[in-house]
């Protein structure tokens, strides 16, 4: 009986998940041409989902959160290429019982409590400063500018053959006391700092 009800439970949850994911995916595929917002390209729609997915494959040290229910904050530094898509992606989602919150920063100084920080291409010139100011803080830095990982960023979205690939700077992540799931590392390319 226990097995049976567990199966039923799994099936129930799975059905809900498929429904929710299906809606999100359709929105991702169908909404963008209709809205025709210039910043919300298909590429960034995928990257927004990836950002959200990182929350599932990365473990933060306990000190990164004020309490177990404290929200996981995804920050966007610089000119936001996601439009409202990122907000739509994380709305209502929870990762490990934590709600997801999107914050936008104009400057690195504004970044207070943040767990995933997407550093936009607009900030390419100030990348070293930004990374330096974030040093010692457990913030997963993600970006899509060239050489982002070699320059000290942790995960870079690289587009190859019309596909988005991940390049990971493990040393940087380690220095920030972040644990990246080995699963995340399987589809990703490991980058050593200074190369790329």
């Amino acid at each position: 009986m226990a097995v049976l009800s567990a199966t039923a439970f799994v099936r129930g949850r799975a059905a809900r998940w498929i429904a929710a994911a299906g809606i999100a995916w359709s929105a991702l595929l169908l909404v963008s041409p209709a809205i025709a917002q210039p910043e919300a390209t298909r590429e960034y729609q995928i990257k927004a989902v990836f950002l959200f997915n990182f929350a599932q494959f990365v473990d933060w040290p306990p000190a990164a959160f004020s309490d177990p229910q404290a929200p996981l904050i995804i920050g966007v530094l610089g000119d936001d290429p996601f439009g409202s898509f990122l907000d739509q992606t994380v709305r209502g989602e929870k990762v490990n019982a934590r709600p997801l919150v999107v914050r936008r920063y104009r400057a690195v100084a504004e970044v207070d409590t943040c767990h995933i920080l997407f550093i936009c291409g607009s900030e390419a010139g100030r990348l070293e400063n930004i990374l330096a100011s974030l040093k010692g803080r457990s913030v997963l830095t993600v970006g899509d500018m060239d050489g982002f990982a070699q320059r000290g960023g942790m995960i870079r979205f690289a587009t190859e053959n019309n596909r988005i690939r991940l390049r990971v700077n493990l040393a940087a992540a380690k220095a920030a006391q972040l644990t990246l799931s080995s699963k995340l590392l399987r589809p990703a390319d490991i980058v050593e700092p200074g190369k790329d």
Binding site: V10, A14, I18, I46, Q56, V95, I164, K183, L184
Partner: protein, 791 residues
């Protein structure tokens, strides 16, 4: 099942045990197989599910970050499990994301993911596994397993083991059942063997061996007990059969068994003696053959009756031809025992009665002769009887008409006949007295206390009976009762005469009487009759009667006076003793007191007084005992006189004074007497002899017995001494009281001893007497009757 029933019990039991154990084993194995199959399926699902979960887990990042090649690699790792024939990943939208193998047949993959979970289809297990990362569903994994191969392998292994185990178990079960069934079958087989031995050989002496104390043990015991009973019954039956066979074979009667068609089935050996044939010659032939033609219808009738009534016995007498040719008379009883399964024949037992029949004929002839003679003789007797009756009537008539008074009595004193004159004189009738007792008819007058008629008549009749001689009685007063019951005074002169038979035995007593009443009355009235002879005779008879009456009265007075005298003398002697004791007592007191003062002369006087008083005392004692002698009753018993006399001589101590007495004591016969009194007789006689022979220097006393002859009525005893003797002139005085032939100075004595002896012996019905001569001793005799006197 019919076949199972006929199987031997050993096979049956083995089969039973085998079937049971194999059946249980198969059911168990089946149940276990079902369980194993289920377990196997569940294990397969679990294994596939685990494989699916691992693969799904490894596919999360590939799905999350859209890396198809990475997903393809993950799926291709499934080739390690060759039974997984297909796998696929679907993105959250349900679109195929990656697949394994790289180019599967399109039909093998579902176009879109179905519900989570695994489903069995024939030789396939397929299912969907969600791909979840951190609580979020990233897609779906599809896995398909080829179960046919696994199941086949599993089945081969499982069934192989099952068959091996079953085969081993069956072998074990067979061995066990073979061993176990022996525990039950052995005693049963032993019992069966015994039973077979009993029924095959009819040997009831065999016994089954008891192998345990269970129900089979009980059965064995019961069986053995039954055998014992059967053995006993069999023995009894054999004995019975032998006995009956012996009875039949040795019976002098011939016994035949014939069936309902008269065919002879059996003949006992006795038939040879009866009919001359050996039994084998006749068995099988018709039983009616050889029958005398005259008896055939009778025999046929008997057979018909027998056949008609089973169990019936019919006696039959018929003739058959003996082997020698003559006819034999047969008598027998035929019984229809056709209905008795043990016999199934008509049984006839018969014997040869030819001889009996011949003698019967002879007896019949003799009987007829006898009868004829009896008739003749009876006629003669009848005519003689008639003569007798006639003469008897004449005599009877004569008797009753006799002028005298006659009564005829039988020895029991019952009245047999009476003359008419007697009846008239006694105012009785013949019918009233015949057959009755004499004294019943003629009792004493109850109003006359002095009546002696009955006692006198009875005494006279007793004398007649005893002496068988006529007895004439004196004139008797014997009153008779009138028919009205009043007694009338009558005087009779009776004579009783015996009538003896040919053997000199008393047959009748004739009682003849004369009525002398008138005569006695006349005499009493002092009327002097005429001087005729008849008158004088009558007068004299009357006088005799009256004087006899007077003598009787005087006798009675004398007896009374004698009794008074005795009483008087007893009391006088008793009263005399008291003053006498005083005289003696005071004389001795005086002697003691005045012995010193009195002179010799006075003392001698006193001694004389004392001696005289003592002598008088002895006299009185003797007198008292003498008078007592007549009063005390006799206690008669058998007395051993030898012991009595020997005791007296021994205790008397008569030789104390240095004398030697020559005793001569002959054996004495025992007598019937009063022992104490007889002792006194002997003591007195012996003391007398000792005393009166005292002066003889060689005293000799002889004691003996002399019987007149063997059949004497009395025995005579005597004591003889050689003492002083006596003058026979005084012999008559010897036994009188106070009669002494010698003075007290010569011999002591009171003079009562011999008187006492006479009295004692007289009371015993004996006599006493003496014989003697002066100076030549004396003999004292006494006799005792052989028959003891009536007390």
């Amino acid at each position: 099942m019919a076949r199972f029933k006929d199987l031997p019990i050993q096979r049956k039991l083995t089969l039973l045990l085998m079937l049971t154990s194999v059946g249980v084993m198969v059911i168990m194995r089946l149940a276990f197989f079902v369980y194993e199959y289920r377990t196997f399926r569940e294990a397969t699902v679990r294994q596939l599910s685990i494989l699916g979960k691992i693969t799904a887990d490894n596919s999360t990042a590939a799905l999350a970050f859209g890396n198809r090649s990475d997903a393809g690699e993950t799926l291709s790792a499934l080739h390690a499990e060759p039974n997984v024939v297909a796998a696929a990943l679907y993105d959250p939208a349900g679109k195929l994301f990656a697949q394994y193998p790289a180019q599967p047949a399109a039909a093998q993959l579902p176009p879109a993911p179905g519900a989570d979970g695994y489903q069995f289809s024939p030789d396939r297990l397929a299912g969907f596994e969600p791909v979840v990362q951190a609580g979020r569903r990233l897609g779906t994994l599809y896995l398909q397993l080829d179960t046919g191969a696994i199941l086949g392998a599993w089945l081969r292994g499982s069934l192989g083991i099952a068959i091996l185990v079953m085969a081993l178990a069956i072998v074990l079960a067979y061995l066990l059942s073979h061993w176990l069934q022996r525990q039950i079958s052995r005693p049963i087989l032993a019992l069966a063997d015994t039973a077979r031995a009993v029924s095959d050989r009819r040997d009831y002496s065999v016994r089954a061996t008891k192998l345990g104390h269970d129900e089979l043990g009980l059965l064995t015991d019961a069986f053995n007990q039954m055998l014992t009973q059967i053995q006993e019954q069999d023995l009894a039956l054999r004995h019975n059969e032998r006995r009956f066979r012996a009875l039949i074979e040795h019976s002098s009667d011939s016994i035949s068994l014939v069936n309902s068609q008269n065919c002879i089935l059996y003949l006992s050996p006795a038939v040879a003696a009866v009919e001359g044939y050996a039994p084998e010659e006749l068995v099988g032939r018709n039983g009616v053959e050889n029958t005398h033609p005259d008896d055939l219808p009778l025999l046929r009738e008997v057979i018909a009756q027998l056949l008609a009534s089973p169990g019936r016995s019919i006696p039959v007498v018929w003739r058959r031809r003996h082997k020698a040719g003559h006819w034999v008379w047969l008598e027998g009883t035929a019984t229809n025992l056709l209905g008795d399964p043990a016999v199934s024949a008509i049984v006839t037992n018969y014997r040869d009665i030819t001889e009996r029949r011949n003698s019967e004929t002879e007896i019949k002839r003799l009987n007829e002769d006898l009868e004829r003679r009896v008739v003749e003789r009876t006629a003669q007797l009848e005519s003689a009887n008639a003569d007798l009756r006639r003469s008897r009537a004449v005599f009877e008539n004569l008797f009753v008409s006799l002028p005298g008074l006659f009564l005829v009595l039988n020895p029991e004193l019952r009245i047999v006949a009476a003359s008419d004159a007697y009846l008239k004189a006694t105012m009785t009738t013949r019918d009233g007295i015949l057959g009755r007792g004499l004294f019943e008819v003629f009792p004493d007058n109850p109003d006359d206390p002095a009546a002696t008629g009955v006692s006198n008549l009875r005494a006279s009749l007793n004398r007649v009976i005893q002496n068988l001689a006529p007895d004439a009685m004196a004139i008797q007063k014997y009153d008779v009762r009138r028919p009205d019951g009043v007694f009338e005074e009558r005087f009779w002169s009776p004579v009783n005469s015996p009538v003896l038979g040919a053997d000199r035995a008393l047959e009748y007593i004739i009682h003849r009487v004369e009525d002398v009443t008138d005569f006695v009355r006349r005499k009493s009235a002092q009327t002097n009759g005429d001087g005729s002879l008849q008158a004088r005779l009558e007068r004299m008879e009357a006088e005799i009667f009256q004087s006899s009456q007077r003598v009787q009265a005087a006798n009675q007075q004398l007896e009374a006076a004698n009794k008074e005298l005795e009483a008087f003398s007893y009391s006088v002697s008793h009263d005399l003793r008291a003053p006498l004791r005083h005289v003696d007592g005071f004389a001795s007191l005086l002697t003691k007191r005045a012995e010193k003062t009195l002179d010799t002369q006075s003392l001698r006087y006193l001694t004389t007084i004392s001696g005289a008083a003592k002598q008088m005392g002895r006299l009185i004692d003797d007198l008292l005992s003498f008078s007592r002698m007549s009063r005390t009753t006799l206690r008669l018993a058998e007395v051993d006189q030898d012991a009595l006399v020997a005791g007296i001589v021994r205790e008397g101590n008569y030789e104390q004074s240095g004398r030697t007495i020559a005793w001569e004591i002959a054996p004495l016969p025992p007598v019937h007497a009063d022992a104490a009194m007889l002792r006194q007789v002997w003591v007195n006689l012996i003391e007398n002899a000792v005393k009166y022979s005292g002066k003889n220097p060689a005293p000799r006393i002889v004691i003996g017995c002399q019987s007149a002859n063997g059949a004497a009525a009395e025995q005579v005893f005597f004591v003889r001494d050689n003492g002083v003797g006596f003058d026979m002139a005084y012999a008559g005085k010897l036994f009188g009281v106070f009669q002494r032939l010698h003075g007290p100075s010569e011999f002591e004595g009171t003079g009562i001893g011999l008187a006492n002896i006479r009295r004692i012996i007289a009371r015993h019905g004996g006599r006493t007497w003496a014989d003697g001569r002066v100076g030549e001793g004396a003999v004292f005799y006494f006799s005792l009757p052989v028959k003891p006197p009536s007390p």
